[in-house]
């Protein structure tokens, strides 16, 4: 093991949260900071040649290499976990910028009551309504506390949107930095129809700029070209906010920050409640020890949990006793949606990752659940992300019986540009039975145990999705769809079918060290010079996309480190 010269701060992971922390600390202090990113460097110039569906959207060229490192999966602790041999239901990012490079850019703020989900739910419906085996808890932070940071994150990225359109959104101290995007036909139809039904449609807040924008760091990004290559691709013009186009140009000017690619962090080294640094394998296969006074884990959400478990930092969660914290509250947005068929073409090849209209009328607790068989809700969204020819070929009305041959071909060609889906991504509450731990059998290419996910849907999600599909179908008919295909009822968690990459939990934040790994400042309760950033800190899964909240919480942690921790190292809680 090679021991490297000491740095003040070591950050594992060069995605949104890791690079944002580096930028904040780099700008406001003279600390020496090393960002350790396992993947390769990337810049905007790399992406024009990447506008290829087969290599990027199907073979997943930008994602974590599953042959080296993956997870195992099972439904319950009685089942045998098997490796996720190819990624399916979610896509872990890899390389500089991480999943923040190939995201869609949907950036809603979470509803205010999300952060107080336990106390608000109990206050309105009573403890008896909480699902069996739940492990729902408040986040230990309120919307009001993070509102200023939401605002800063939106300003940094130049989020396009229209404040005041969503009546359920929390109080905003400022409007959006840029106006909403132009809408494709499909979301435009949704706006009209949902309004006619009495709902309150609004443009999805978007990190894909509606217009040229200069942020407070002087970074100028152009308007979106609506080319349709966002999700699973990097933006070839830099209109979609990505860590490489928003943060790296600033970090490159900061002499106290170094970004090391090809550095795979394996352990946080700690003793007696204090981290002394991290170990990593470099591109030559050499194991290195990087000593540091402060360590932050900012890897892709589930990898944070794995690093804590491998490092034995915190007590592993035990589902039998409910004791232990690391690995608890694994969640993934509940998937759903209906497919609509129209009599006319929709030109769906045009679009952008966050080009969408949405309603929050059935989100969170925005509607009365007294007589319903579930808690919480979903947003119903009409996207125009850019349909691609392989991925979107073959969406057919239920009456079409064949899946190959002349009849199928004729129908699939006929419907290719006349079918589109309304998405209903639902809130996923936390349960004692959904968690992460280390797999006893399967290992990665370096010989470390894989992370094991134990997760299944419960009746709350199943009933919620049935309800949401029915609402989405009503809107679809009002949009003029000649046919509506309902989804198969949600049954068991399926690791093969893509849902979203919003897998969360495992290193959750909270008000008590008994039931959380991190305090509300994302500081490890037991190792106080260790911080853990990203959606692994979310105690449950709101229906809204996580990135803006990840950024807001990271900014809040950065402020706390600079303003309080550095002056008096110790617990911030």
């Amino acid at each position: 093991m090679k021991t490297l010269p000491r740095v003040d701060v070591a950050i594992a992971g060069g995605g949104w949260s890791g690079l944002l922390l580096a930028r904040e600390l780099g700008a406001r202090t003279s600390l020496s900071i090393a960002v350790l990113e396992r993947g390769a460097p990337r810049t905007t110039a790399d992406y024009a040649e990447g506008m290829d569906e087969v290599d990027y959207a199907i073979r997943l060229r930008m994602m974590q290499d599953a042959s080296k490192d993956t997870l195992t999966f099972r439904h319950t602790s009685k089942d045998r976990a098997l490796p996720v041999r190819q990624f399916g239901s979610f896509l872990p990012g890899d390389g500089l910028g991480g999943a923040g490079e190939h995201w869609n850019g949907e950036t809603p703020r979470l509803l205010p009551d999300v952060f107080e989900v336990y106390s608000r739910t109990v206050a309105r419906y009573g403890k008896k309504r909480l699902p069996a085996d739940h492990s729902i808890q408040d986040w230990g932070v309120t919307y009001a506390e993070i509102e200023p940071y939401y605002n800063r994150a939106e300003t940094l990225l130049g989020i396009s949107g229209r404040g005041g359109r969503n009546p359920f959104e929390g109080l905003r101290s400022a409007g959006y930095p840029t106006p909403p995007m132009k809408l494709g036909h499909f979301p435009a139809l949704f706006v009209e129809a949902s309004r006619a039904l009495g709902y309150e449609p609004f443009p999805m807040p978007s990190a894909n700029l509606s217009t040229t924008y200069k942020n407070p760091d002087g970074i100028v990004r152009p308007a979106c070209e609506y080319c349709g290559y966002c999700e699973r691709f990097g933006c070839m013009v830099g209109a979609k906010a990505q860590p490489t186009n928003v943060l790296m140009p600033v970090i490159a000017r900061q002499s106290n920050v170094s970004v090391r690619t090809g550095a795979t962090v394996r352990r946080v080294v700690h003793k007696d409640g204090r981290a002394s640094g991290v170990t990593y394998i470099d591109t030559d296969g050499q194991e290195c020890f990087q000593p540091a006074d402060l360590v932050a884990l900012a890897s892709w959400t589930m990898n944070n949990t794995r690093l804590l478990l491998l490092s034995k930092a915190g007590q592993p969660y035990n589902p039998a006793t409910g004791k232990g914290q690391v690995g608890r509250n694994l969640t993934h947005q509940a998937p759903g949606g209906v497919v609509l068929f129209f009599d006319y073409p929709l030109n769906l090849f045009m679009g952008s990752g966050a080009n969408a209209a949405t309603i929050a009328d059935f989100d969170g607790d925005n509607f009365d659940h007294s007589s319903l068989h579930f808690l919480r809700g979903a947003h119903i969204t009409a996207p125009a992300v850019g349909h691609r020819p392989v991925g979107n070929f073959g969406l057919l009305p239920p009456a079409t019986a064949t899946t190959w041959g002349s009849q199928w071909k004729k129908a699939a060609i006929d419907f290719f540009d006349r079918s589109a889906a309304l998405a209903t991504n639902g809130e996923h509450l936390a349960y004692r039975t959904n968690y992460l731990d280390l797999d006893p059998v399967y290992r990665d290419s370096a010989g470390d145990p894989l992370l094991r996910m134990t997760i299944d849907w419960n009746d709350n999600e199943r009933n919620m999705m049935a309800f949401m599909s029915a609402r989405a179908a009503e809107i679809g008919r009002a949009m003029g769809a000649s046919e509506v295909a309902m989804p198969r009822p949600l049954k068991r968690y399926d690791v093969t079918a893509y849902k979203t990459s919003h897998v969360q939990g495992g290193t959750i934040m909270g008000a008590s060290p008994e039931s959380s790994v991190l305090n509300p400042w994302l500081q490890h309760w037991k190792v106080e010079n260790l911080f853990v950033l990203g959606a692994s800190a979310f105690p449950h899964n709101a229906s809204g996309n996580p990135t803006l909240t990840i950024l807001a919480l990271t900014l809040r942690t950065a402020d706390a480190i600079v303003d309080r921790y550095l002056k008096r190292p110790g617990s911030l809680a």
């Binding site: 099972r74 073409p345 071909k409 060609i413 690791v495």
Partner: protein, 222 residues
């Protein structure tokens, strides 16, 4: 060293084909040069390629709704994918133990796509390519539940609609069928227009858009 194998593809049937597309209006496809092309195979033997080509042509036939897998060169696409890193499972987790799971755990087999094809072609049998279409359909129906057929169907769609650099979608013929224009750099002036009407710019491959060729992933060496 492997003996060289070839497959001969006819471009002749393509010139001036009428296609009834998404907007129910006949369109004349942009003609490909009328010639026979002898394509060197990277993975399949010639007999294997003929069977796979025949099978993909039943999944996506050439018929009154327009050209199909043969004209698009789907078998060339599949041959290149199998010869490349995907075919040998370079990016799949292939550590043992291999155990049967529930469907929600995904494909748990040991066989990589190359082996699945090599064995799958045997299921269809020698002479499959010489059978009448009805008999070919019957043989395919018998294997519909296999991993091989699932891959074959998926790869047929990929080969119909991939960027032409991967060997399928020859002359963007698949994109013309469905009205997909390819990776244009901008629709900023069109995104909120053409509501309700088909907007169908002439399809362009990535190479045509960029003005230079791009190396697809399957050609990357270790």
């Amino acid at each position: 060293m492997r003996r060289r194998h070839f497959i001969t593809i006819s471009g002749a049937s393509l010139g001036g084909v009428l296609v009834y597309g998404f907007d129910r209006k006949p369109t004349v496809l942009h003609a490909q040069p009328e010639q026979k092309i002898r394509v060197p195979l990277r993975f399949f033997t010639t007999p294997e390629a003929l069977i796979v080509a025949a099978a993909t042509a039943r999944i996506f036939p050439s018929d009154e709704t327009g050209p199909g897998a043969n004209e698009a060169g789907v078998v060339i696409y599949i041959d290149r994918q199998l010869a490349g890193p995907y075919g040998r499972d370079r990016y799949r987790y292939t550590q043992p133990p291999f155990e049967a799971g529930v469907p929600e755990q995904g494909y748990q087999g040991r066989a990589n796509p190359r082996q699945i094809y090599r064995n799958g072609v045997k299921l269809l049998g020698d002479g499959f390519d010489n059978l009448k279409p009805d008999a070919q359909d019957a043989a395919l129906r018998k294997i519909e539940g296999t991993t091989f057929f699932r891959l074959l169907r998926q790869h047929t769609i990929e080969g119909m609609f991939c960027d032409p650099m991967h060997g399928g979608n020859a002359g963007t013929i698949g994109w013309q069928l469905i009205g997909f224009p390819g990776p244009y750099m901008s629709w900023a002036d069109d995104i909120d227009k053409h509501y309700g009407k088909a907007f169908r710019p002439k399809p362009k491959s990535l190479e045509e858009v960029l003005g230079h060729p791009v190396k697809p992933w399957e050609e990357e060496s270790e």
